[in-house]
Symmetry: C2
Subunit: 135 residues, 2 copies
């Protein structure tokens, strides 16, 4: 592929349900009840059950690896957790939209990709960026 500064990644949509969070709790070992218990989440001042930040980060990362075609091409990845992804108690869950754009071409055939990750129209990750090795 031809990649230059400004090249956009295909937009990716993900759905996150509470069932996903229960699975992620088991897979990650993070059983904090704010990720599966509405009562506890409200008690601690959250608007509801929220997704694990690392899960959101992982989904956003998938938009990058889907673009590179090779998960191993993702050589650096960082995010800041800006706003929680609130996951309603229904089959739809929360929608996560991941957009990405090549922000810089680096040496050694690498590129920096800046990501914009939103849920319900709000940015949930800030400063989300990846460095990928281009094919």
């Amino acid at each position: 592929m031809t990649v230059e500064v400004g090249t956009e990644l295909p937009e990716q949509l993900f759905r996150v349900t509470r069932a996903d969070l229960v699975r992620y709790a088991g897979a990650s070992g993070d059983f904090n009840p704010i990720h599966w218990n509405e009562r506890v989440a409200l008690q601690v001042g959250l608007p509801g059950v929220i997704a694990h930040g690392m899960f959101t980060m992982a989904l956003a990362g998938r938009a990058v690896t889907a673009w590179t075609g090779d998960p191993a091409a993702l050589v650096e990845y960082q995010v800041r957790f800006g706003r929680p992804v609130v996951v309603p108690d229904d089959d739809e869950g929360a929608e996560l939209t991941v957009r990405g754009k090549v922000a810089a071409l680096l040496d050694d055939g690498r590129a920096r990709v800046d990501l914009t990750v939103t849920s319900g129209g709000e940015k949930v990750l800030s400063l989300a960026r990846a460095v990928v090795r281009l094919p």
Copy 2:
């Protein structure tokens, strides 16, 4: 120990919380939402979130292995799931009481133990019995 027909096992109490069920879901791979989602549990006609039957069975089995002192001494084990263990959404959860009594001495130094497993005063397992190898 001296074991005869009628010998009683020490009574064991267990608490089962929703946090335990979320963990058990991940450990067992049984993610059925009736074990972690009140809304779904009520929708399908249950009185609330219920424990995985195999988890209840496992806890009752622990009362037997605690008595024998050796998990490998439990050579046969069967239960019938009579009534669901309803697990409230609080830190206490459900209480499970396990009582056992030696019902028969078998050949080869084995004994049959009949279990009575209750939650909230109601029998939750019916026909719960184990065969153990006596030390």
